[in-house]
């Protein structure tokens, strides 16, 4: 049982390293210099937002979730005090 858990942990770690490597590679690709001509900087801003659309959406949901959790916790504490 313990061996199995350790194995799963090891797999999790490997997955994390793999993900990190992919992210780093992507960032290196993004940050690497290339020779494309300067066209319209506004379009780059749009594209950047598009790239992180899902990330921003998650942020928004996390905000809603946190507020709900806080409100539930306050409600819970108030009930305990009664």
């Amino acid at each position: 049982m313990s061996d199995k858990t350790q194995k799963t942990r090891r797999e999790d770690e490997l997955t994390t390293y793999f993900r990190a490597a992919v992210i780093v590679t992507l960032l290196l690709l993004i940050l690497s210099k290339n020779a494309h001509a300067y066209l319209d900087p506004g379009a780059g801003s749009m594209f950047l937002q598009g790239l992180f659309a899902a990330f921003f959406a998650v942020l928004a949901y996390m905000g809603i979730f946190r507020r709900r959790l806080k409100s539930w916790w306050r409600h819970f504490i108030a009930k305990q005090k009664e």
């Binding site: 993004i30 290339n34 300067y38 319209d40 801003s45 950047l48 921003f56 928004a60």
Partner: protein
């Protein structure tokens, strides 16, 4: 009887509307391209909601006057603001609050189906009670599924200068004078110290954003994304992420070189109480609507003037002073109309922008009803080598009345100052002071504050 219509020389970029002044009021003419945005926002009660939240400057819709520009379909009237100021004159926290004001507006607008079409610092002004968005037409209908159109402008106008001031040096806020349309993102990204530009809060919106500006990334890819999927949740998340980045930026005014800064040290103790009483009396008698306090320091005398109901512009070259005063206005000075501006008065704001008319010089925004220059002009003479007659001429161009303190060479503060600089300086004596000012002003009163300090109240000749 109506006066002539004057188009605001800074209002020409947006085909949807333009600003003009008529009979002492500011008006906004709305043309065909702006009608849909305006009517939709009005019908949805968006303007009322933002004004109620203290975000938007109130307006009143009126029938277009006959002298309104051709093609005016709707006309809005605003009360004229006492003083227009620019981001290159603001304190760090004022620029930060202006950024947060934009994000507050976005959070109210997005669920209503609207957003800000601009993210410009110029659209924020102080009206005597707080910061307000003044550009009604910057509120527009949200483009469905589209990223925020003003994202780049917001980052250039707020995030870049604030991050540079917080992580680099606060004096970089003066770069605004060159970059009147916002800081180039790559410039800010390069100037921010290495580890800090990769901090999570700045990384996406500044460092990565700068990369995307330079390389035409979007141009290669955007063509294939006819409708980039950017939901309302993404927009809300973007707003929160920007808020997180902006809110995390703090200027530590006690960091070098401001470590030695003490608010009261420049005043000395000579006649301070007497000076306060006289300033209080002068403002009480003159009842000026607008006071410019030159060399205002942390606003000791500005607040005395403001307590009589005047709108006071407190100008100082030290960003630590204006920051300190701005933050006090949100605390113990709440309710007083004081606008702290950072400006080296030996090099006041010139006319800037297109045709040198888009943004006004300090002089063009005057004259003030009363200018106070207390323990100030000897700094211009000794530190900046500006002759007394030239100072008198300049003051007569910016104030109808001037309360000016003459500090003699024998004053302990000035002697100490001169010893450090050596004895060579421009001519400076009370006789020269009086003759220089008498050419331009009538001397209404002269009060001896201490043996070495006198306070003069002057009225501009022919003013």
């Amino acid at each position: 009887m109506t006066g002539p219509m004057m188009q605001d020389p800074g209002s020409f970029r947006d085909p949807a509307n333009l600003v003009f002044s008529l009979n002492g009021n500011v008006h906004r003419a709305i043309f065909a391209p702006g009608v849909q945005d305006y009517v939709s926002a009005k019908n949805e009660g968006v303007y009322a909601r933002l004004a109620e939240a203290g975000i938007l400057l109130l307006h009143e819709e009126i029938d277009p006057p006959p002298s309104a520009p051709e093609g005016t379909l709707y006309c809005l009237r605003y009360e004229a603001l006492p003083m227009i100021s620019y981001p290159w004159e603001w304190s760090f926290s004022m620029l930060k609050d202006a950024a947060l004001l934009h994000l507050d507006a976005m959070e109210i607008l997005l669920p209503q189906g609207f957003w800000l079409r601009d993210g410009s610092a110029i659209n924020v002004q102080y009206d005597g009670r707080g910061l307000r968005l003044i550009d009604t037409l910057s509120i527009g209908l949200k483009k469905k599924g589209h990223p925020w159109v003003a994202y780049k402008q917001f980052c250039s106008h707020f995030l870049a200068p604030l991050a540079l001031a917080a992580h680099g040096d606060v004096r970089t806020l003066a770069l605004w004078r060159e970059y009147v349309d916002g800081y180039p993102l790559d410039l800010a990204a390069h100037m921010i110290p290495f580890p800090k530009r990769y901090l999570s809060r700045l990384f996406i919106h500044l460092t990565l954003h700068a990369r995307f500006q330079q390389k035409g990334w979007g141009d290669r890819r955007i063509g294939t994304y006819e409708t980039p999927r950017f939901s309302e949740s993404s927009l809300l998340g973007l707003t929160r992420s920007l808020r997180h980045a902006i809110a995390g930026l703090r200027w530590n005014e006690h960091s070098s070189p401001w470590r030695q800064y003490h608010p009261a040290q420049n005043y000395g103790d000579g006649g301070l109480l007497l000076k306060k009483q006289h300033v209080d009396r002068i403002v009480g008698v003159l009842k000026p609507k607008i006071v410019w306090d030159l060399g205002g320091n942390t606003g000791e005398f500005s607040t005395i003037a403001a307590s009589h109901g005047s709108f006071v512009v407190s100008i100082d070259g030290d960003p630590a002073c204006t920051e300190h005063l701005y933050n006090r206005l949100k605390g113990d000075l709440r309710g007083k109309s004081v606008l702290p501006l950072t400006m080296n008065l030996a090099n006041p704001t010139p006319a800037l922008g297109w045709n040198e008319k888009e943004r006004h010089s300090l002089r063009a925004r005057g004259p003030a009803d009363l200018v106070t220059a207390l323990a100030f002009i000897h700094h211009l003479v000794f530190s900046h080598n500006i002759p007394l007659p030239s100072i008198a001429e300049w003051l007569s161009s910016i104030g109808n009345h001037v309360a000016v303190e003459y500090v003699s060479e024998n004053d302990p503060m000035v002697s100490r100052f001169l010893r450090a600089r050596g004895d060579e300086h421009l001519p400076y004596s009370q006789a020269l002071f009086e003759s220089s000012f008498a050419r331009r002003f009538s001397i209404l009163e002269r009060t001896q504050l201490t043996a070495s300090r006198s306070l003069y109240l002057l009225a501009r000749k022919g003013g």
